[in-house]
Symmetry: C2
Subunit: 213 residues, 2 copies
């Protein structure tokens, strides 16, 4: 039986909707009272595994799940060893550089050479500033990255932006976009190559369902 | 004015209680409706900064907070460049190795040489198994580590245990303890050495308050 790793959080309801269109019902995960992390769909065709978004590529890389749904941002940040099958065209957001509205630096290249940039996406931020040839220091934070500039710890942040509300509430403005991100379908490379449990068929069905919607 | 980084989560209420005994009132952070991440205490003596537990040592290391409260587990895992001032004797828990109740491996040294261990505390786990001279592979997870053995991805986990309820609910048993952890008072090394804003006095007051309680 195929196991599908589904991400908690922002991408969950659209992911469940996608599989429902293909006859795989994991809606029980959306019930706020649900405590189960593994559910077999009522037709006994596939198993859903509910995990943190960051852990989805880990389960797929180790073959514990043959398919998974994850944001493009995490694929770029963690570079897991997984097969990238399709852009699912939902969960759109962007990775942006933001600075305080009142900052003297209103473009990334104006940041001082000893500048500090707070981010949860350390690798994405590093690559970006290396390409600009700007030797800034990346400060790894796990929550409330916007506190970096507010407390004066950093001149800028690199973070995922969807509506832009958090930035606005904290007096920050976007000055550049690293990349656009959407939800992606990933697969365990060996399972996909060997077509275990007819995995390729399900992959094709998902791709067709997305291009039609 | 001294800034104190306080950790969201399990250590927050005891941390706020500690400072309240010294006349610094940050109880507003405990109000579930509170959205502020920075509060100055009513006597205008110190500022509280509410951040993720993992981010506390970051703010203290960069001197954005002169004092902070953090679990010993995070100090061992992240080895931040901070001064370690006192054991605060609350927030007791332990870092443990656990395996499924039904596992054929009931001690860590019985784990197979190609075994896999899931953990949020990758560095603590690595150090522990290196000392045992066991070449296991550590799988980094961010949430629900107990899913590692349940899905068959790993033979064991290394995780923080306080009541043991999560382990029990997931059919896991502890087979060894890496170390005991409690909340610790940390300081920005340079601020402490230079005694900025009379930091040493506040440090002493905290230490005395703990030894008396």
């Amino acid at each position: 039986m195929i196991t599908i790793a589904l991400p908690k959080g922002a991408l969950l309801s659209d992911s469940i909707e996608l599989f429902k269109r293909l006859g795989l019902d994991f809606t029980a995960f959306l019930d706020s009272k649900n405590r189960q992390l593994q559910i077999t769909d009522p037709t006994n065709t596939a198993k859903g595994l509910l995990v943190r978004a960051t852990d989805v590529p880990v389960y797929v890389e180790y073959g514990q799940a043959q398919l998974g749904i994850v944001g493009y941002d995490l694929l770029l940040e963690k570079t897991p060893d997984v097969a990238h099958l399709a852009d699912l065209n939902f969960g759109g957001c962007r990775m942006s550089v933001a600075v305080p509205k009142t900052s003297p630096y209103q473009t990334p290249t104006e940041l001082p050479p000893n500048g500090k940039v707070a981010s949860k996406f350390v690798n994405c931020a590093k690559t970006y500033f290396q390409q600009l040839d700007l030797p800034v220091e990346i400060i790894p934070l796990y929550g409330s990255v916007e506190l970096g500039p507010i407390t004066g710890m950093s001149e800028a942040i690199v973070d995922l932006v969807s509506t832009g509300r958090t930035l606005k509430e904290n007096g920050l403005v976007e000055v550049d976009t690293l990349f656009q991100s959407t939800a992606r379908l990933i697969a365990h490379p060996l399972s996909y190559r060997l077509n275990l449990d007819n995995l390729n068929d399900l992959g094709e069905q998902i791709k067709n369902s997305v291009s039609k919607s």
